[in-house]
Subunit: 241 residues, 2 copies
């Protein structure tokens, strides 16, 4: 980092923002006091304070009263929501190592909703998995998956993280698309704790029914994403009127 002496708000703003983006300050790191920062960025304390306020507004940093200013974690992955990938794929594309902690794997009777999701009265038993997905060891997604018990060998689930792949290997069926409902979750009594989320950390819940190429509903998932770790976007096109 080389800074030419200057006293311009915009230059300092760009420099500090850039330093945060480049990871020179780490997520949750405390910034130095104003007088040290203003020396580092070669500006006045007033300008430095204005820059800090702007970056708080921009959600790059946050103040803790009496404790100073801290760097916000940035999303590890930003994905077009219309593109379906497994959670493992998403984490890998962010340059992180996906991992899995099993919470439970059980065989249950289908609920009424399950029968509706799978368009079938023929489903006798459902394999239900609850897993915490991690990125470099950090819990970032809570996954509840449900499939017809006959679709995958539940005994094998610990050997293969990807249910997409298990279905492909054991059933020869490829998941092609999903119908997804998008729900914001403020705080979830069980799941927020498991994902180390406080009251202020919201979750994005994607409830999705996955279909094969033949339009057969084969997998139902409820995925709770930490919204500081995952960011989704979409291009919306104007409807004809």
């Amino acid at each position: 980092m080389t800074i030419e002496p200057n006293d311009s708000f915009q230059d300092v703003l760009f420099s500090l923002r850039d330093d945060i983006d480049k990871g020179i300050y780490h997520p949750n790191e405390k910034l130095q006091p104003i007088y040290e920062l203003s020396f580092r960025y070669q500006t006045s304390r007033e300008t430095m304070k204005a820059v800090i306020s702007r970056l708080v507004e921009e959600n790059r940093i946050h103040r803790k009263s009496g404790m100073g200013v801290f760097v916000n974690p940035q999303p590890i992955y930003s994905s077009g929501i219309e593109k379906l990938g497994s959670v493992s794929d998403m984490i890998r594309k962010a340059g992180k190592e996906p991992g899995t902690q099993y919470v439970s794997a059980e065989v249950i009777e289908p609920t009424q909703d399950d029968l509706v999701h799978f368009h079938s009265l023929d489903v006798q038993t459902i394999a239900r998995l609850e897993r915490v997905r991690t990125a470099d060891g950090e819990p970032v997604v809570y996954c509840i998956d449900k499939v017809d018990e006959r679709t995958i060998p539940i005994g094998q689930i610990h050997n293969e993280q990807s249910i997409f792949k298990l279905i492909e290997h054991y059933k020869g069926k490829r998941i092609q698309y999903a119908h997804t409902f998008i729900e914001p979750i403020g705080y979830h009594e069980q799941i927020s704790d498991i994902l180390n989320c406080g009251l202020e950390q919201s979750l994005l819940l994607l409830k999705q029914i996955h279909y094969t190429e033949d339009d057969e509903p084969i997998l139902y998932s409820a995925n709770y994403f930490r919204s500081d770790a995952f960011q989704f976007h979409v291009v919306r096109s104007r409807m004809d009127e």
Copy 2:
């Protein structure tokens, strides 16, 4: 509603769920006590209790401790998120009458983010609108809109609810698509109160940059949707690997 005498969990579940869907019970209405319900649906109290528990799980009704069981409001509008419509259009398609309460309309200097959104260093002043959008008088969306001040006559904003239409009339430019970021919000200090949302009512924030047919960024919006009033879904297609 005609019910044949029965003692089957599933029949009663379907009947009560159907009655809620058809609006026989209104949103936020208190259900009768179990003994009255079991008489009405011609079933045992045990079955009735099991049905109530299921519908609580399904998020159709909720218990208030010591006060009974209440009907949850259902989303007034379910929209494919990849389809862009104005908020007025969305509310109208739900069969409700859109309305607008103005919170503020002001002309401000662009922030750094504004300049990035509008891909322009030429924007001198920004018209910034804050509005509460209502459906049949109920507040359901909080909208913050920003445009280059020269794009719309801010004095006219009270005569036309739709900013899309104002831009079309005054600039002859049609909004064609938007790049949208999807964010869950648990509780927002100011906005949740304005939308009559308690701590448990989350919001879905869509931050979007709207473009014309010529790919000119022309309108930036942050829309906070009550998640009990609006539901968004999307079809996600498998990425090639």
